[in-house]
């Protein structure tokens, strides 16, 4: 680890604070992940990635920068990764999934603010996120008020570029978004000094489409009962999708999927057949936010799908690969991103339809709606989600929480009671 320390120091991390963080993560990972039984063997790749999350991957990014290429940090799946890759840059998700440095963040930001926003601001202020410090530019977006205004503040501490994401899906919004995508291409060209031509776009699209296809294949395996992979492991894979080298990640996910397909053929599950199957819907869970999945799976259910940005929303839609001109490629990219059904859109009926489709396709017994505290778009949209899910005859539980564990006991009671009602309605006693 000593060579990493030198690298961390050069990146400008606060080594002492970073050491504290690095001491916590393996312990939590051990409790939440390594304690699971019957994990697919392919998960050893993810264990390795996690053990090197601030090590090897950061070194790769460092080497890439040394060779003159750039690193682009993002917080949202609205940022077109295809264009970042076409510019020869790497695209990484920025830390925002742990209650770290919130006290520092609260010196600047209001307390009653989304924990994800407080978290990324806290990581920046305490200088413990090497992805933050490795990023040549941070690309934000105007999805919600909290992020939008925080990017203004973050601009004091980092090089920030903000994309204007629309809030409706009409024609003028699409034009606005296409314009933003074209501007973003210009921004990436300016950052990297590399012209993004047709070939680069074709390659960028193919790489990201392959990654999305791999995640789709992985999630197909979760439709089966008994399910061959835990929700926790599947969540981790989907979280790492935002950090890892895309080509290598795609290959590893396909390998794991192969193993899961073999498990299915052999009738092997990670839990017993008939275990209650839960769909989690709502706010994104950035690494290392495994709180809800851990509570739900510890209570004897299994999560089979995530209707979230770190989940189906990330891989559901592909960029069309037809078209032979750069302009058509950009338009195809814009079209793909306009399909996203984030709660920041109004109206957002697509999300309700997608939830109901997942309920059916994944044979879901109950839906848990997850929202981060103070997240207006998702907490308010719950009103429509609850109605749609209940009308379909599926029980739904609302959870609103942050990253701290102080409410774990209460949440467990709610989750267990929810599972009791599901089991009771299926005629299972106790």
């Amino acid at each position: 680890m000593s060579d990493y320390r030198e690298m961390w120091k050069e990146l400008g991390l606060d080594l002492e604070a970073h050491d504290q963080l690095m001491a916590v993560i393996p312990q939590v990972y051990g409790d939440v992940y390594l304690s699971q039984k019957n994990r697919p063997e392919g998960m050893s790749y993810l264990d390795f990635v996690m053990s090197e999350i601030h090590g090897l991957r950061i070194k790769e990014l460092n080497d890439l920068r040394a060779s003159g290429r750039k690193v682009v940090g993002t917080f949202c799946l609205y940022i077109p990764e295809e264009i970042v890759l076409a510019a020869g840059a790497a695209c990484v998700g920025i830390c925002g999934g742990a209650d770290w440095g919130s006290a520092e963040a609260e010196k600047i930001l209001p307390r009653n603010l989304c924990p994800l926003i407080k978290s990324f601001m806290g990581f920046k202020l305490t200088k413990v996120c090497p992805y933050f410090e490795s990023s040549d530019v941070i690309v934000g977006e105007t999805t919600c008020d909290g992020k939008k205004k925080t990017y203004e503040v973050l601009g004091e501490y980092a090089n920030v570029y903000v994309m204007h994401t629309p809030q409706t899906k009409d024609e003028s919004s699409r034009r606005l978004w296409l314009d933003e995508v074209e501007k973003f291409k210009g921004k990436m060209e300016e950052l990297t000094g590399k012209e993004i031509d047709l070939v680069a776009l074709v390659k960028g699209i193919a790489t990201v489409n392959a990654k999305r296809a791999a995640l789709k294949r992985l999630n197909e395996a979760r439709k089966v009962d008994p399910v061959p992979i835990s929700g926790k492991d599947a969540l981790l894979i989907q979280q790492v999708a935002f950090y890892d080298d895309p080509a290598r990640f795609t290959e590893m996910v396909n390998k794991i999927s192969g193993e899961l397909e073999k498990r299915i053929a052999d009738g092997i599950g990670v839990v017993k057949k008939g275990t209650p199957r839960i769909l989690v819907s709502g706010c994104p869970m950035a690494i290392p936010n495994w709180k809800l999945h851990h509570l739900v799976e510890s209570a004897g259910a299994v999560i089979v799908a995530e209707e979230a940005c770190i989940g189906h929303r990330y891989f559901r839609d592909m960029v069309s690969e037809s078209g032979t001109e750069a302009k058509e490629k950009l338009s195809a990219i814009a079209d793909r991103y306009m399909k996203l059904d984030c709660a920041c859109f109004t109206p957002n009926k697509e999300r309700l339809d997608n939830i109901l489709n997942l309920v059916k396709d994944y044979n879901v017994d109950g839906v848990i709606h997850y929202s981060l505290q103070f997240c207006d778009p998702f907490t308010v949209e719950y009103v429509s989600v609850e109605k749609a899910v209940k009308d379909a005859g599926i029980p739904v539980l609302k959870i609103e929480t942050d990253y701290s564990m102080e409410d774990a006991g209460q949440l467990s009671t709610r989750i267990e009671a929810f599972l009791e009602t599901i089991k009771e309605s299926q005629g299972v006693t106790l």
Binding site: E400, E406, D407, G409, Q410, T413, R414, E416, A417, E420, T421, E424, S425, T429, L430
Partner: protein
């Protein structure tokens, strides 16, 4: 005999069921060592117990040790309330550190439930702290508040903020009874908003130690416009429910 034990944040409740009859029940303070306290309470019956089911926030350590199974407080209160009040369709449980409302279907199964958020607003703990701030004994806080002439509206639901609000009202020489009534109304308001989310159907049963508080009972039934039923020992409903499940297991 079958034992149900409800290990709550403030009290531990135990019910011993023998056939259809409640053979015995006990209520004790949780204290600092809920595990030891639970063992002490179970000890006299343990030898004859066919099955022990635990509920309450301490249920998980109980399962690791002496309990044969666990159920949540939601299921326990529903089962207990239904046995004592066979037409019960709605249960309100105001416990020490959380409050919950449960709606039951016609057959008595849990149809839906709501629990308060992480803070103490609308819980027994809130009332306890406020009684102390106002200088009332917890046991007659309800009666004293019911005797108020006017309620003083309490704006803050947060225990910490409500406490300073109460202190400043006292400094203005406001009558403690009037403040007390306002506080009870704020708890009932919180409970009623949860109730409307799950739907209100008769009979309504109030469970948990707060059921002994006359002011909560009266204010609740006035605000709902429905009769609210309370058992003479409202704190044992959860433990009773656990004992019933132990018998039916």
């Amino acid at each position: 005999m079958y034992i149900g034990i409800d290990i709550g944040s403030r009290c531990i409740k135990l019910v011993v069921l023998s056939g259809q009859r409640i053979e015995d029940f006990k209520v004790g303070d949780t204290g600092f060592n809920p595990y030891e306290r639970s063992l002490e309470m179970i000890k006299p019956y343990a030898y004859n117990a066919k099955r022990i089911i635990a509920t309450g926030y301490g249920r998980h350590f109980a399962r690791e040790d002496f309990a044969d199974g666990v159920i949540t407080e939601i299921k326990a209160h529903a089962a207990g309330a239904r046995l004592l009040f066979p037409n019960c369709r709605t249960v309100i449980d105001i416990g020490g550190q959380d409050s919950k409302v449960i709606s039951l279907d016609e057959s008595g199964k849990v149809a839906d439930f709501q629990m308060n958020d992480r803070c103490a607003a609308g819980t027994g703990k809130f009332l306890e702290i406020m009684a102390k701030t106002l200088g009332f004994n917890l046991d007659d806080f309800g009666v004293q508040s019911l005797a108020a002439e006017n309620a003083v509206k309490i704006n803050s639901m947060c225990t910490v903020f409500a406490e300073s609000e109460v202190i400043s009202l006292l400094a203005k020489k406001e009558n403690p009874r009037n403040i007390g009534l306002g506080l009870h109304q704020s708890v009932v308001e919180k409970i009623t908003s949860m109730l409307h989310r799950v739907g209100v159907a008769d009979d309504i049963v109030l469970s948990g130690g707060v059921g002994r508080n006359l002011c909560i009972r009266e204010t609740l039934s006035q605000s709902l416009g429905h009769k609210v039923y309370v058992h003479e020992n409202p704190e044992i409903l959860g433990a009773l429910g656990a004992a019933i499940i132990a018998r039916a297991y």
